[in-house]
Symmetry: C2
Amino acid sequence: MERIAEGEYAVMEVLWEEAPLTAADVAARVPEDRGWSLATVKTMLSRLLAKGVLTHEEDGRRYLYRPAIRREDYVAEESGRLIDRMFGGRVPALVAQLAARDRLTPADIAEIEKLLKALKS
Amino acid sequence: MERIAEGEYAVMEVLWEEAPLTAADVAARVPEDRGWSLATVKTMLSRLLAKGVLTHEEDGRRYLYRPAIRREDYVAEESGRLIDRMFGGRVPALVAQLAARDRLTPADIAEIEKLLKALKS
DNA sequence: CGAGGGTGATTACATGTGTAATCGACAGGG
DNA sequence: CCCTGTCGATTACACATGTAATCACCCTCG
């Protein structure tokens, strides 16, 4: 699967949320703080098409865009990449790191414990 | 803290493992499969210096390089970034994702449970 | 003393990315 | 039927990144 750049990812998020959309619709839904012009969004869409992570179908004179890959798949790949690179593929090392950095609230801990317990059955 | 590119990260790994080192030493320790020339490693070192994530001290006619940032800090930042972007900052969502993808062995589960239990005390 | 090898610095060049402007085609309003 | 706005496509340009080659300098060996 092609790598998706940070900015491009923002466009994918929009389409994973709702699809199909026109270029203008996507632009309208991209987070405000990006401050992107419509032209910029169109460039992103073209590049994502070229990467094969989007598809488009004609709708009269314009296109409707929709994701060609599933969000879970992409997220899984990126998470795996990070865990491999930074934690030698060891998930417990990641969790230990998060714990050491206070990224785990008591609620998080409880939730994760429940998840793990469910896994063992 | 400056972003560190994928290739540059490989150089940082070497120096986090052992420092200080000369450019030639770093090149010798970079993973074989990168297939980098010494020149390439030197470019990386210059860029990392420019980014302020390395320091160097003179050793006669050459430099000894050493990390200016701690590995844990960088790793924490990158992990946080990923969790924020892909899981809305929710660590349990990440763990659920890993579970769904069979990235968790029974040993991992046991280890994580032990970690979490220790946290609660 | 002169040549060769090692050093960092400078330069090179292709590709990716952020961020658009512009262009040619076409559709719909007047 | 023509103007204007809209669409995708093409082009632009600066900076980041991967991957080096080359240069100027200096130390050491012969």
